[in-house]
């Protein structure tokens, strides 16, 4: 395990985040992938049993789609880690109806290594430090949250002394402290980086009436989560609110896409393009991944990979290809499984970006028993 982890860390650290390509040659990617999968096959018993049933030989994998993908649902039922002590367990947010998924990490070294280069490339290509405000709990307050762990790591590496979290361990959001912190940053003309889930921002906007003209260089990061306990917000609504309340153009607002079951993150590229004077991407909502991640789209029915290589497979009148379920092949997921099948729908752009169409909607249950949601949908519109 340590050998492979070290090889992946070395490969990540060898990547030039500012100028390097976002994909490695297929041969190089698969060479590393075979090593990772061979380790997982050797030391992760549930995965080995699964792979054997699929007739999979780690040495035979020639393409990311060849690696047996594990559904995110499996993380709710099976301990999916290579044998040995566990450094940390991250858990998915749960609902009363749903089990929580668990991602066990024998080591967080690879996670830490994979966190910063993509952030450098797509969020901080112009500087080494910023004042970071996070509308979320810290890792100390939420030790099983991968999102809090990431925010913690980002503040630790990229934040200045005034950087901080604004939600405590009990979930209490100190919105007035954030108001004061933003006021002070504006007075000092200090640019800020405000981060949070989509609904974290929505809650902040609901709690306070103030608006700010954030100093030049300021930026925002939203990590998704457009559905909350209080309802749903669209990305368009949220970004309009960013403009109204922070006077920040869309190009200064960054989206991040990842999940508990992964060890890497994808980002939109608008900030990078703006700061480097490059053309804005054709799809401002397209996510890009670092070279140790490959995205495979699969047909939702057959679960077989969708061919997205050539422009002929793109939908007419659009540069985005056909929709499919998103499968991540994340080589930083060394300690568990590297091919993770999500329930998210996406399509690929011609330049390798990923358009996220959101989580597939919940199954519409239309049986003999009316749910209160079905009832209210008809009555309250």
């Amino acid at each position: 395990m340590p050998d492979v982890s070290n090889q992946i860390v070395d490969a990540i650290e060898a990547w030039d985040p500012l100028e390097g390509p976002t994909t490695w040659p297929r041969r190089r990617f698969m060479d590393l992938a075979r090593r990772v999968v061979a380790e997982q096959y050797a030391h992760n018993a549930p995965f080995r049993e699964y792979a054997d049933r699929q007739g999979f030989e780690p040495g035979d994998a020639r393409d990311p789609a060849d690696i047996p993908a594990v559904s995110t649902e499996v993380f709710k039922h099976v301990d999916l880690h290579c044998q040995g002590p566990i450094e940390r367990v991250f858990r998915t947010s749960g609902t009363t109806r749903d089990r929580r998924g668990e991602h066990h990490f024998p080591t967080l070294d690879v996670y830490r290594a994979s966190m910063h280069p993509p952030f450098r490339r797509w969020a901080m290509p112009d500087r080494d430090s910023m004042r970071i405000f996070v509308i979320a709990k810290s890792a100390e307050a939420a030790p099983d949250s991968s999102l809090s762990f990431m925010f913690d790591g980002l503040i630790d590496r990229w934040g200045d002394d005034e950087s901080r979290f604004f939600v405590d361990a009990d979930g209490d959001f100190d919105d007035q402290a954030l108001v004061a912190a933003l006021d002070r940053a504006c007075e000092e003309s200090t640019s800020v980086f405000v981060m949070g889930t989509a609904f974290g921002f929505v809650e902040f906007f609901e709690r306070c009436d103030e608006s700010w003209s954030l100093p030049e260089g300021s930026r925002l990061l939203e990590t998704g989560g457009f559905k909350g306990r209080k309802g749903e917000v669209t990305r368009g609504e949220l970004y309009r609110a960013f403009g109204d309340r922070f006077e920040l153009p869309r190009e200064c607002c960054l989206s991040e896409y990842s999940m508990t079951e992964l060890s890497s993150q994808a980002y939109t590229s608008t900030i990078r393009a703006r700061l480097r004077g490059e053309d804005q991407p054709a799809h401002p909502r397209a996510f890009y991944t670092p070279p140790w991640v490959e995205i495979v789209l699969v047909d939702p029915m057959s679960l077989q990979p969708i061919e997205v290589e050539g422009p002929e497979s793109r939908q007419q009148g659009s540069s985005a290809g056909p929709r499919g379920l998103i499968r991540w092949v994340d080589l930083a997921n060394v300690g568990s499984v590297c091919a993770v099948q999500t329930g998210d729908l996406g399509s690929m752009t011609q330049d390798g970006g990923l358009i996220l169409h959101g989580r597939a909607p919940d199954a519409d249950l239309r049986g003999c028993s009316l749910t209160v949601e079905e009832w209210a949908e008809g009555e309250d519109r």
Binding site: P300, Q341, L365, R366, G378, R381
Partner: protein, 397 residues
């Protein structure tokens, strides 16, 4: 009860079905309400036809009214009954037909966004009954016309029923009268595979698959799981057969849902089943071997969980250890017992455990009109009954 209107009911059912086959207009309405697979809709409506037999409907009403067939009991029917229909096509129709037999005016609140079937039925109703019959009035979602009805009949979760009562309380000064049917789940039981030959098992699986696939497994009479008695290998082989039969039914009924939510749920659950090596079947749905007790949860549309049981263990013990569903949520059991004594033991145990209907595989979705929904009488609760213990009973009909 004013009079039993069998002629008009006959005319109504004649518009709905022609020689047992559902009318095109009814099938069209259900498909437009968002139910994919015309062949599946036809198969489902054919089973409804078995429920909606005039003789059975009339007898269902008569048999319940025997409880108040006493000269000292004066019966008053509600002036109007409102029915809150759930999403499953046809669910909620039987009580309306029972009400029609009694000549009660009725208001129907169809499910939100899918009122084509209700409107089609309303049109045929007025053709059959003319101006003189009991009313069949559509109340659109958002219209509070249902609140004025003397009685409301609804199938919904506890939360939904509470919400309906709250809305009635807001509007009415009196105590709301509401008959609420709850969430129900059904299963199949094959106590001993050893009693069935290989070819019989194929047929049995095919019958069971009908209970699984019909209405995309959304109904309270949809089989979500099977208790199967036999050795591990034997049960595994039968699960393979059930998986094949599900695929066969899907092909015959063109029953492959395209709903994005259903497809995504299926993808996630299939991924889990593949990882655990429990999937048996390779089409949209499948049979899935489970070590855990039957929980009644829908894994994904057209997926039947298979729970192995020991044929030597007493039925009640099996039901206590292998069925993890509260008694109030148990609905139908499709029982395939060959041995007469064994069948008796199982029927007794299933009834004691809380199931409200026991039938043979393949018949789950065609309950007779006289089935007591949730184990309760269908129309006795509609009545106000006055018992006159002194003097002559008044004539209030």
């Amino acid at each position: 009860m004013t009079s039993i209107r069998t002629d008009e009911l006959d005319a109504l059912l004649g518009r709905w079905f022609d020689d047992g086959e559902p009318a095109d207009g009814m099938v069209d309405a259900v498909v437009r309400d968002g139910w994919p697979g015309r062949e599946l809709v036809e198969a489902g409506l054919r089973r409804h036809r078995q429920t909606w037999q005039i003789d059975s409907i009339v007898e269902a009403v008569r048999s319940e009214l025997r409880a108040v067939d006493d000269s000292r009991m004066v019966v008053r029917w509600p002036d109007c009954v409102a029915h809150i229909w759930p999403g499953l096509p046809g669910a909620g129709v039987t009580p309306v037909l029972l009400g029609a037999v009694a000549g009660v005016d009725q208001r129907i609140r169809p499910p939100s966004g899918s009122g084509h079937l209700a409107r089609w039925m309303a049109d045929t109703w007025s053709e059959a009954f003319g101006d003189s019959g009991p009313a069949f009035e559509i109340v659109e979602p958002g219209d509070d016309g249902w609140l004025d009805a003397e009685l409301v009949v609804a199938s919904g979760s506890d939360e939904t029923i509470d919400e309906l009562i709250r809305r009635r309380l807001e509007r009415n000064t009196g105590r709301p009268r509401l008959i609420g049917y709850g969430h129900g789940v059904s299963l199949g039981v094959v106590p001993d595979l050893g009693a069935w030959s290989d070819s019989e098992r194929v047929e049995l699986a095919y019958d069971i698959a009908a209970d699984v696939v019909l209405w995309h497994q959304q109904g309270c009479f949809s089989a979500r799981g099977l208790l199967v008695g036999g050795a591990d290998d034997e049960v595994d082989d039968f699960a393979i057969e059930v998986g094949r039969a599900i695929a066969r039914r899907e092909r015959e009924w063109n029953a492959v849902p395209e709903d994005e939510g259903w497809v995504a749920q299926r993808a996630k659950q299939r991924g889990l089943a593949d990882f655990q090596g429990t999937r048996r079947g390779d089409e949209f749905g499948w049979a899935q071997l489970e070590d855990d007790p039957f929980s009644g949860e829908l894994v994904a549309p057209h997926v039947a969980t298979i729970h192995r049981v020991d044929p030597q263990v007493e039925p009640m013990e099996v039901l206590q250890t292998k069925v993890d569903v509260p008694a109030e949520n148990l609905q139908g059991a499709a029982l395939a017992a060959r041995d007469v004594a064994e069948g008796d033991r199982w029927r007794q145990a299933l009834a004691r455990r809380g199931f409200t209907r026991i039938c043979r595989p393949g018949d789950l979705q065609a309950p007779p009109a006289g089935w007591w929904h949730d184990g309760r009488p269908n129309i006795l609760d509609w009545l106000n009954v006055t018992r006159v213990d002194a003097g002559d009973p008044p004539d209030i009909d």
